[in-house]
């Protein structure tokens, strides 16, 4: 193709794809693709990501619309949680009758 990357990106921007495997589960990010608009992105997502029965619902969102945390600020963001082991509910004795929680 003679197209430049810039032109391709402008005509068919990047979309993030989320698939829900079954009713009752939540949509999970599965990948991304290029498409001209949301209708075409949904069709492309169907053709690229649900060929083996992976789901029954698709969301697409423009990648540029996603706000992401700053990797260089990851330590202040996430490390403070590392030593708060009491936040994990592993210190309780759960009666057998309760079963799996």
């Amino acid at each position: 193709m003679t197209d430049t990357t810039g032109k391709t990106e402008a005509m068919t921007p990047l979309w993030e794809v989320f698939i829900r495997p079954r009713n009752g589960l939540h949509h999970r990010h599965v990948g991304s693709l290029h498409a001209a608009d949301s209708d075409m992105a949904l069709q492309a997502a169907r053709d690229v990501y649900t060929r083996r029965g992976e789901g029954n619902s698709i969301w697409v969102v423009r990648s540029s619309e996603i706000a992401a945390s700053d990797p260089s600020f990851a330590e202040p963001m996430f490390e403070p949680a590392d030593d708060k082991i009491y936040r994990h509910p592993t210190f309780y004795d759960i009666p057998d009758e309760v079963g799996h929680m």
């Binding site: 193709m1 068919t12 290029h34 498409a35 209708d39 075409m40 069709q43 492309a44 690229v48 060929r51």
Partner: protein, 258 residues
Amino acid sequence: MAAPDNDANHTAFRALLELADDCLVLGHRLSEWCGHAPTLEEDLALANMGLDLLGQARALYAHAGEIEGKGRSEDDLAFLRRERDYRNCLLVERPNGDFAVTMLRQLYFAAFMEPYWRDIAESSTDADLRGIAAKAQKEMAYHLRHAGEWVIRLGDGTGESAAHMAAAATELHRYTGELFMASPVRTEAVAAGLLPDPENLREAWDDTIATVFRTAKLTAPEVRVHQKGGRDGLHGEDMGHLLAELQFMQRAYPGLSW
């Protein structure tokens, strides 16, 4: 099994072959795009649609082979007939051309087959065929939507894409009349209740195409003489090349399996 009604079976067999050949040949055309489509997304989409059609062809050939009762398998029917014995319409054998031609060909075919499968699923006297039709109708509904969206975006896109769509319409529109022409065998199948009359679909097809073309800012070309001949086994010169590739493996290595 009771002694078959030979005339009725012969009609059903040949009527099913027409449908199966349409699906096989168009499916093969779409498979030619594999690895060559303009984008990865569309490469997968075209192959997906090709596989839908191949699946429909397989089911139809297998069913036709049972009705014929001579022990011919789906492979025998798909790969081991001569060109004149294929009864697909000319539209489906037209070369892929550019992406606009491929998408418009798909739109024309799907706009006919989606409602036709729906009618078959509701009204055919053949329970197996009703089952094949119910599955195929859903597949063609997606082809119709996918091809329609592309025709709209290309027709109402850039000057260049609009020119390609207009050229595709000029090239292909004359092959659409054959979709509605009932061959003698299909006329018999309609009379027997096996298939609905394709003529009933003309208005719906015209509406579908008019809606897409209006949105795409395209004009349907005026066609004076519609091309026909496929149902009589009279194909264009591209058909031989298609069959050479389609049949090569089974001709070179008869009975090959893997």
